[in-house]
């Protein structure tokens, strides 16, 4: 297998969720349910008292389910249907992770969006001469939004911040591409 296709496989798998947690949780629930059923059947064969209900009585209960109050049937039905729908949606959606990639000839680099955001925050606050703690950066799939709260009485040069952020983004050259948006808050903060 060529290195290129290996890299593209890694890149795809690292940026999408394997849905392992959900699948394992479901598998554990099924295992517990099956184990419980086996125990009840064995108890019934041995003629012992059931833990909760004998298999025969469980079947009778299922037959008589239409005698339950209507609201219980509807509420239980809606809850089950919603859970089922959610699971089906989870099985089809891509499950994108908050990560970006840098492709180079030597390696493929996977970066958490959080790391990009904190690096941008540092460079933006240097450019604006404010405290990094008053700079909020959120990085999503294709946007990096920088929100700055300037110190009261001080002007922040939006152009410089924009240049600094764009320069950093150009240097990282992540895929998918990030577009920047700079938002300087109107109201400053004392001592920021």
């Amino acid at each position: 297998m060529s290195t290129k296709s290996t890299y593209s496989r890694i890149a795809r798998r690292e940026t999408h969720s394997p849905r392992s947690v959900l699948a394992i949780v479901l598998a554990v629930i099924l295992i517990l349910a099956a184990a419980y059923a086996v125990i009840e059947i064995i108890l019934a064969i041995a003629g012992q008292k059931p833990l909760l209900v004998t298999p025969g009585n469980a079947a009778k209960g299922l037959v008589g389910v239409n005698t339950l109050p209507v609201w219980i049937l509807i509420v239980a039905g809606i809850i089950l249907a919603l859970i089922g729908l959610w699971l089906i949606i989870a099985s089809f959606t891509s499950g994108r992770r908050a990560r970006h990639l840098i492709h180079t000839d030597r390696a493929v680099t996977v970066i958490d969006n959080e790391v990009i955001a904190s690096a941008l925050a540092r460079h933006a606050s240097y450019a604006a001469n404010t405290d990094p703690d008053n700079t909020r950066v959120s990085v999503t799939h294709n946007r990096a939004v920088v929100e700055m709260t300037p110190a009261t009485g001080r002007d922040v040069d939006k152009g410089r911040v924009q240049d600094a952020v764009d320069e950093q983004l150009a240097a990282y050259d992540v895929s998918p591409k990030l577009r920047s948006k700079i938002d300087i808050k109107k109201a400053g903060k004392v001592g920021a």
Binding site: A27, A34, A37, V38, W86, A90, I102, V110, S118, A119
Partner: protein, 201 residues
């Protein structure tokens, strides 16, 4: 990087979701549609009697139980075994070999993953901009791939970290005489946030 069968994960989630959805829909119909409810009332007891007579048609000696219960237990146990296997198979794919050449008449050469691990970790250990790093090797569809995970300090440029690690990788290439495909993972997270502050060069 690992060999988790993601298709199987999604298939299991889909099947369970479908069954739960059908149960829910049936329950709603029982509550809302009188026709469905009366249909259930007339059909369900018949089905139940038929099943019960099938069970009693295969008696288990004189216990009053049925062989079919034993069969049912067997099926359930097989399902449990398959599900346990499914869980255990998640996240595998590590390998301890970096390189294995074709055996010649003089023998064969094996480079263990530990070589790359030691070399890279030694190089990355004392860096100020990383809180921690680790190196593992995976077998990705027959190709051995190095995975270098690094937790970057807050504000460190991911590009710098990536470039540094690639420099070390190239040095490793020189040392080994061949290139191992590599994946670099740079993460932030809790450890980066609580790490002691330091001065970076």
């Amino acid at each position: 990087m690992n060999t988790t069968n993601r298709g199987a994960n999604r298939l299991l989630i889909f099947i369970v979701g479908l069954v739960v959805l059908i149960l829910g829909a049936a329950s709603i119909l029982l509550g809302v549609l009188p026709a469905f409810s009366s249909g259930w009332k007339s059909t369900a007891p018949t089905v139940s009697t038929n099943v019960a007579s099938t069970f009693s048609a295969a008696p288990l000696f004189a216990t009053g139980s049925s062989w079919l219960y034993i069969a049912l237990i067997a099926v359930l146990v097989i399902i449990v075994i398959l599900l346990v296997r499914f869980i255990v198979k998640q996240g595998n794919g590590h390998t301890s070999e970096l390189f294995h050449d074709d055996t010649t008449e003089h023998g064969s050469t094996i480079v263990k993953a530990g070589v790359a691990k030691e070399a890279l970790q030694e190089a990355l250990k004392d860096r100020d901009d990383l809180v921690s790093s680790s190196v593992t090797t995976y077998d990705v569809q027959g190709t051995n791939v190095l995975k270098i995970s690094a937790t970057a300090r807050r504000g460190v440029s991911p590009k710098d970290v990536s470039d540094t690690i690639q420099t070390h990788l190239k040095a490793l290439d020189q040392l080994l005489g061949f290139e191992v495909p590599a994946m670099i993972q740079i993460s932030g997270g809790f450890r980066a946030r609580v790490a002691k502050k330091t001065r970076l060069e």
